[in-house]
Symmetry: C2
Amino acid sequence: MDFLKRLKAAPRLWLGLDPRPERYPDAAAMRAHLFGVVEALAGVVGGVKPNLAFFEALGAEGMELLFALSAFAREKGLPLLFDAKRGDVPSTAKAYAEAYLARFPGAAITANPLLGRDALLPFFEAARAHGGMVFVLARTSNPGARDYLELETERGPLWRAILEDLEALNAKYEGRAGAVVGATHEGALEAARAVFSGWILAPGVGAQGGKLRPLERVIYPVSRALLYPEGRADVEASLAAARAFLAELAD
Amino acid sequence: MDFLKRLKAAPRLWLGLDPRPERYPDAAAMRAHLFGVVEALAGVVGGVKPNLAFFEALGAEGMELLFALSAFAREKGLPLLFDAKRGDVPSTAKAYAEAYLARFPGAAITANPLLGRDALLPFFEAARAHGGMVFVLARTSNPGARDYLELETERGPLWRAILEDLEALNAKYEGRAGAVVGATHEGALEAARAVFSGWILAPGVGAQGGKLRPLERVIYPVSRALLYPEGRADVEASLAAARAFLAELAD
């Protein structure tokens, strides 16, 4: 399973997995619901995007759940995008790449570019070796994106400098570079597209209020509004919500 | 155990825990060595800094090892600094803060500021609630720090804008903000000190070639050169290496 090939063929809607223990009576109920949603949405969404923070918050058991749920999603034919936002010096970045891209061939990861291009390369090398992809943060969906990502630099706004470098990496790694660009900022996707031709992961739709639009090479992860539609952990409601989002995309 | 109070009283040398499975015949040998080094260096180093990447690379078992080793270090009186370099939108950053700062009261974490100040606040709130600290990346020790952290912005080099904001956070959170500034760049620690008065974590000494100097409010994490001195996993050699580094600091 090659992530890039799957991406081209799959629906643009992705299921974000941000499990919240307070929604369940116990850990077994949470586990059953998460497996149930993944099973129900296989063939409906393009893939699953587990956000590692919510699994780490559950301790070592949470990481066991992450790996088991990821293996299950793959069995069901769903590609995996680990929303890890990892970034460290090169020798450490290599360990992060091993942890997710080598362990799950054909998976993608989100990476933080603050430490520079040398620190991104281990992710790209692992993506090439294992049929994966790397989505690099360029302009995030939160208001704080203003503080540094939108800061004016000698190369234009920081997000644009990051996207220009990513465009070069995308050429070198034959399409395996993606960008994370929040759909919450007016015109952000179009502005990103002007400098970056690769795939864009556009968070901020659903609970955060952005809209799903059928743009070329843009995928939309939806977490809360798909996993807990109207605040409920209910597999049928998740399926209905996914179909509503897909209809929005098809308009 | 309050991290900030411990920091003021403890030696400036910190033990970095970056376990490399290829150094051991099996997982049991690795575990025994890691616990052995932590026990031998309690009372010698200021605390331990596990780098999460190397534990995550070992899968769910690695995370179990991380939490067990962290609990053991605490029993031995060693403060914990989780080198996680996490950063995400605020609601997700809160989950990361819970995963480490709430789970281990009195611990610190490293955080990535790229997503802006709103995304750092959950870490600071958790640090205040649980007697912890947050060390924010400002200028990392790798050559790639040039790409974005040293980029000239409307607020000066990006690292300086980050440190200025951190100085304000440090006032608001009463000393609980630290900065990560690589000791590998000539004059970087002095330049950082000119704008930031709080504690600095200065990686890049030991295997990366930087020097340990007895500067005010600067701590030095050493990983490979303390955990595997001369390439060996040997507790006695680690103890000797720690004493040599401490002598360098006392000069």
